[in-house]
């Protein structure tokens, strides 16, 4: 390591120690300090590592956690970055406080923001990339999915030997010819027909001839076994495939990958994709299917992101919703609950929520009246929008309460007519609720 890098590392490490000890946080500042002293610091810090980069719109965090869990079956001391530290400075910080290992080639599994892939590949040549999906995110919906993909590819271009492990069901990931070796995973679990995606799905143009893509089947949104009836463009052969969904509940999924039975302790078809991605990385890295089963079984705590909160005897599940695809997956997940429940929808429109609330109209709320929901509550700063959305969706006004004030919404929970309560909330509404839950002692800490 050069003298400059040594000084930079020392400065970064001590600032990390200071921030961590006295301010209980600070995940990007040490990286910032270090980078200022030595712009090439990442190259030095990561030079011995085999790095796997995970990127995409939805599912990065869980896929990263699951991948680490799977790879632990074969490798020791895997370095990974905490949630939210997925930009350049956060990644530098991650390497800065990596414990020393005896491994000659330690492994790092990194969640990287789409636009930051190039910041990483400038200095590190990863062993593999994982592409989860690219959807329209309501935070930056004027940014195009094609622009987002191009940003990722600009980063990938600096690492042409890295293997790309991509969601084969996403048409966009097969749209450009790349020099990299490719591995595709996807779903092969439904009977084949000839269908189109629903009208409010984005990214359904054939990348070759710009006609509307058709599907043999769709798993969700624009993911599925696509083909173009005009030019013959189609989904690539899958290297690893989910071939059966056995049982879905809001808290678990049982399925088979290449005939191997797997259970994960989290609901939602989108999380099966995350597990399938982790499984595929595991196979790529020499982890056996049996070891992966074991990893998913032992790694139950990873799924704790959707923990059940006990609020005066009510079983409350608080779920973040931020874009239409994610929202529809959550609606799909709660539909698998066999018990009656109370539905709470909370909409804020601050910057962190997305200031444009129009995306709620792309959510499939029309499914709610068909579920076993005994009471609906809508609230938040934009309660009028979400309330009217549910009215139009056909929710019975006699079962529907409206309460703009989030503190009062919390007070209504003990009076809910059911034991189970699902709360779908945008980012700042969720933070607000977590704070209130923490103050009342229902959960530890307010922010995580």
């Amino acid at each position: 390591m050069s003298l400059k890098s040594s000084i930079a590392t020392a400065a970064g490490k001590s600032s990390y120690w200071f921030l961590h000890t006295f301010l209980k946080g600070g995940s990007s500042l040490p990286g910032k300090i270090t980078k200022k002293i030595d712009p090439n610091i990442l190259q030095n810090l990561a030079r011995n590592y085999d790095v796997i980069v995970i990127t995409g719109t939805n599912g990065k965090t869980l896929t990263t956690a699951l991948t680490v869990q799977v790879l632990k079956e074969k490798y020791e001391n895997i370095l990974t970055n905490p949630t939210g530290s997925n930009m350049e400075q956060g990644i530098i910080t991650t390497f800065l406080h990596a414990p020393r290992t005896k491994n000659k080639r330690p492994l790092a599994v990194l969640e990287v923001d789409e636009a930051n892939v190039i910041m990483v590949t400038k200095y590190i040549k990863p062993k593999a990339f994982v592409f989860t999906n690219i959807f329209r995110d309501q935070m930056d919906r004027y940014g195009e999915i094609y622009t987002t993909y191009q940003k990722i590819l600009n980063g990938v271009a600096l690492a042409p030997n890295a293997t790309i492990i991509a969601n084969g069901d996403a048409p966009i990931f097969h749209s450009k010819q790349l020099p990299n070796p490719m591995i595709y995973y996807g779903f092969a679990n439904q009977p084949e027909g000839d269908i189109k995606a629903t009208p409010n799905t984005d990214g359904v143009l054939c990348p070759q001839c710009q006609h509307i893509l058709h599907y043999r089947y769709i798993s969700y949104s624009n993911l599925g076994k696509y083909f173009c009836p005009n030019c013959g463009y189609q989904r690539p052969e899958l290297n690893f495939a989910l071939n059966k969904i056995v049982e879905l509940t809001p808290k678990s999924s049982k399925f088979e990958i290449d005939g191997e039975p797997i259970k994960i302790e989290i609901g939602g078809v989108y999380n099966i994709y995350n597990a399938l991605a982790a499984y595929t990385v595991g196979r790529f890295m020499g982890v056996t299917p049996a070891q992966t089963q074991q990893a998913f079984h032992q790694g139950k705590s990873i799924f704790g992101r959707q923990e059940e909160i006990n609020v005066d005897g009510k079983k409350v599940t608080l779920i973040l919703v931020k874009n239409p695809v994610g929202l529809n997956q959550v609606i799909d997940m709660i539909s698998t609950d066999k018990d009656p429940f109370t539905f709470i929808g909370l909409l804020n429109a601050n910057y962190a929520d997305g200031i444009d609330t129009s995306w709620i109209w792309d959510g499939d709320f029309e499914r709610l009246p068909k579920m076993n929901i005994k009471q609906f509550i809508t609230g938040g700063e934009r309660y009028k929008d979400i309330t009217y959305r549910l009215q139009v969706a056909g929710v019975d006004p006699a079962k529907h309460l409206v309460e703009p004030d989030l503190d009062k919404v919390v007070e209504m929970i003990p009076n809910a007519p059911t034991e189970k309560v699902y709360i779908l909330a945008t980012y700042t509404a969720m933070l607000h609720l977590r704070k209130v839950f923490a103050t009342k002692g229902f959960i530890k800490g307010g922010l995580d």
Binding site: N200, I212, D356, W361, K384, R389
Partner: protein, 234 residues
């Protein structure tokens, strides 16, 4: 008497960025309250548009790439769409849909892309800047106020025959210069509002349905439908 209205969701599978489907859901919701049956179908690439089949067209906004593809395809539907509009058909056109009914717009790479010129406006592009935020406008004929959210790089300038949908009270509107937002021509309502516009502004949805009923059933008594009270949703 049983009333039915048929909606053409024009390029609904490509021009759908801003919750545009919500406009159809709201039309359907209010039509039901009026005792009107509403059907809707997507007409997209390589499909013919038959003006005699529909009473209302909803034409949403899309991403740059999708809009450039639609700009080519819509030329094949130009005659039908123009006939429909001239024959007092009801249209709600948003953002990219609004731009494509005019003469032209400037695409992402600065190229001039054609609309169908059924309406007399044209759209240029701001350099590296977008109008983003909440908008409030007032329609000068009815005095109604409309609320929405705008997010557009295009700046649109109205032609001789067009009136604005409203005067800008808050936000930027068509071009940030002349205080106009959107356009009205015959029974065509154009706007940069997302929201989607009809969900936030039930009055406009009601105008669209009433105009369509009057055109399709000129001799019917629709006073009951006209009396429908629409709620404030914003």
């Amino acid at each position: 008497m049983a009333y039915t209205l048929n909606v053409c969701h024009l390029y609904g599978d490509l021009m759908n960025t801003y919750g545009d489907l919500g406009n159809i859901l709201v039309l359907n919701y209010l039509a039901e309250k009026m005792g009107v049956e509403l059907t809707s179908e997507v007409i997209s690439l390589d499909q013919a548009f038959d003006p005699d089949k529909y009473d209302i067209i909803v034409f949403g906004g899309g991403q740059d790439f999708e809009q450039s593809i639609v700009s080519k395809d819509i030329q094949t539907k130009k005659a039908g769409l123009t006939d429909f509009i001239e024959d007092n058909g009801s249209v709600v056109a948003i953002c990219g849909g609004y731009q494509l009914l005019g003469h032209y717009y400037i695409g992402a790479n600065g190229e001039k892309l054609l609309g169908i010129g059924a309406l007399d406006h044209y759209t240029d592009k701001q350099k590296d800047h977008r109008f983003i935020g909440n908008v409030v406008i007032e329609n000068e004929e009815t005095g109604e106020q409309y609320h929405g959210f705008e997010n557009h790089q295009g700046i649109t300038f109205l032609g001789q025959d067009e009136r604005p949908l409203g005067k800008v009270l808050e936000g930027h509107g068509n071009n940030g210069q002349d205080k106009t937002e959107g356009a009205i021509y015959k029974n065509v309502y154009c706007t940069y509002f997302h929201g989607p516009i009809l969900a936030r502004n039930n009055q406009i949805a009601k105008h669209v349905l009433i105009n369509a009923l009057k055109r399709k059933y000129p001799d019917a008594d629709i006073s009951k439908q006209e009396q429908l009270k629409v709620a404030e949703t914003f």
